[in-house]
Symmetry: C2
Subunit: 411 residues, 2 copies
């Protein structure tokens, strides 16, 4: 049974389910309770399953095993919409393949987030041939087109990424930096949010950044003062230079939760190998031939994963964590940051998080008894449950923390 | 004659003055031209002259020499309005003394800026006894009272200081941080600017910060998007950890000039002694028994002062530089950052800046000749000039760069 003590109280409900079978209370009977889904979004990139979802994996067996591993930990996927890769040739977007991938997740009940709709990195090179007004128009049209095309399959978007640095990014020339420098950060945010909102009014729209300083606070405050509706705030958390620790993480949560917005920890990476030196400012500057996962690193990673997820679940503002790559294979910068090694073997961190999500915080198949009035009492993490008895089944959802009184008919 | 070549072209005018005496053109005559005031604001703290202006200096002769030295370099003063010192007991503000000081400068033609009206540091301790609504009211009333009382003598204010860090400042509890954290940075800026604007609609109102990162950009963009009118942007430039150099200074100017606002370099400090170690984050943490000015340091300071002022004058957005203390005696942190040593002797930096301001960029008393139509042609830095001939005098002002055609009657 799940851990529901003080620290995670806001994640749980005390349920009283009145169970009926054919209209009669199912009194004094053993039933089996199981949580089938967390309300909390345990997310990960779904990039590694796009080929699988399209039936195009090079090694279908390995891909299927990978999909199983993925679903063992996660219930929320992020799919890639980097403009430069999604539409390298103007007018030829990679829609069908991504749509299949999004539907693969959606059909399994996993919400999908698209990442990102506007960003200065990996943006379309062909923007450089346009003037700023044309870039703005292309950006808006791209958002309207893609957000509309994926509505239903993808109803959550990182609308714009890394706006703090966007207008002063100086590694290379690109159309989005040009435009943002020209019109300013807030008009840029307004433009892309307006386009996304128009294309899918019910979507959850995020602002996402890696800058955890006062700069992002100032940006958020400016955006909110300007009346732009942000549905959730994305905080990137690549920890290639070492796990942040509880104190830093809690200080960040403390600062960014004061806007009253739901928080998504996005792009979380915790290494199971050597840590990147602290003096490196742009993580992209760290280029190494090989970056192995090590036994000591894997033990440390498992501990840090546990500490990090405990810290995040303990904070009421956090609604999602998106880990940035389940597999070491294909990971950004070649870093050993996955839950699964390059040979496809789950690391200790995989087992640790699996235990937390499915055992400590989840409710695996458990036999309980109803009382004389057919009532079943349990405390569990918010999410979806099934109750089975007599070969029949009822579905129950715990949506809000606190007391939950539910009636459920075995069907 | 002043240096007016390309780099400072925007600071100069090509004047054609038609000079008359008793209604007749003063043809083919020698006249004496002299610049009496720069339009550019060469500023400094005036803290060190407050006692002198009040006739209360402990050593009146030394104070008078100091005042002469001050006027040898500067034409613009900043006076202290730190709330905790200005009104340590609620309802007992230090108005009269500061008003005398402000008038002393104003009577000599030097505009005065008050610094600051709202800041979390050196703020009034008694705010801690109030709730946030009362703090807000006290802050607004303080601004309205003081800006009104000084109008005419002080028509320029650092309205609010260091807003980027204000709500997350964690060195000690204070009423302004509490309030700013509660209501947010932009509403805080709006509140204090509204109060200052109401009390003196024609005043020049500044936002001032030491944070030169994207955080200050984001704050400025948020404030401007929110429709708050900022008259000039203050960029602090304490260089206790070493002169920034042209490249960094120009990069900062490049980033902060894109809002189209006049820029004031405020709180400029360049040392003539040992440099503070780079690892110190809050300059206040560097506490030393003695921090002497050294011969090598003084030579270096003179060069860096020249480079810095040249960089700033070359940028068209910069309207003012405020040096943060002419005298080593009494300087913030005990740093040897003044133009005048503790014994009252001007350092090489004093002579260097004096030459730049008064010779290279100024027009010291110069004999010129009018042509057959009584016209006098010269190129000079913007500001005020006198022309004397026949024991009579005319005043001429060069206000805008470019061609200036002026008529002037010797009076």
């Amino acid at each position: 049974m799940s851990e529901t003590s003080g620290r995670y109280r806001h994640r749980t409900a005390d349920a009283t389910v009145t169970l009926t079978l054919d209209g009669q209370p199912l009194a004094d009977r053993e039933v089996v309770l199981e949580q089938t889904r967390h309300k909390f979004l345990f997310g990960c990139t779904g990039f590694e399953l796009v080929d699988h979802a399209n039936g195009a994996a090079a090694d279908p067996d390995a891909a299927a095993r990978n999909a199983d591993l993925w679903e063992g930990l996660f219930n929320f996927a992020t799919l890639p919409f980097y403009w430069g890769r999604y539409e390298p040739v103007r007018g030829k977007p990679d829609t069908e393949r991504l749509l299949k991938a999004a539907r693969w997740f959606a059909e399994r009940g996993h919400p999908v987030k698209g990442h990102p709709l506007a960003w200065h990195t990996v943006t379309a090179d062909w923007l450089l041939d346009l003037d700023n007004e044309e870039i703005a128009r292309a950006q808006v049209e791209r958002i309207e087109r893609d957000v509309s095309a994926f509505a239903g399959a993808i109803d959550m978007w990182d609308v714009i990424n890394e706006v703090v640095i966007m207008p002063i990014f100086d590694k290379y020339d690109n159309g989005i930096t040009r435009l943002c420098r020209d019109i300013g950060r807030i008009p840029m945010v307004r433009m892309v949010f307006d386009a996304a909102r128009k294309a899918n009014p019910t979507a959850t729209l995020l602002l996402n950044d890696f800058d955890m300083t006062a700069a992002y606070e100032c940006l958020v405050e400016g955006v909110l003062e300007a009346g732009i509706q942000i549905d959730a705030l994305g905080l990137q958390s690549h920890m290639h230079q070492g796990y942040w620790g509880e104190e830093k993480t809690e200080a960040i949560l403390d600062r960014f939760s004061r806007y009253g917005l739901p928080i998504h920890f996005t792009e979380t990476t915790i290494l199971s190998g050597e840590i990147m030196p602290a003096h490196i400012e742009d993580l992209n500057d760290h280029v190494v031939d090989s970056w192995p996962s090590t036994p000591e690193g894997e033990a440390r990673q498992a501990d840090e994963i546990e500490r990090h997820y405990r810290t995040l679940l303990a904070h009421p503002s956090v609604e999602a964590v998106t880990y940035w790559g389940m597999n070491d294979a294909g990971m950004w910068l070649g870093a050993p940051g996955g839950f699964v090694g390059v040979d496809g073997t789950p690391k200790p961190s995989y087992h640790r998080l699996h235990h937390l999500v499915n055992e400590e915080w989840g409710t695996p198949s458990t036999t309980l008894a109803t009382d004389a009035e057919g009532r079943l009492r349990f405390t569990g993490f918010l999410g979806d449950y099934t109750i089975t008895a007599e070969g029949r089944r009822a579905d129950v959802a715990l949506v809000e923390p606190g007391e939950a009184r539910v009636e459920a008919a075995l069907g």
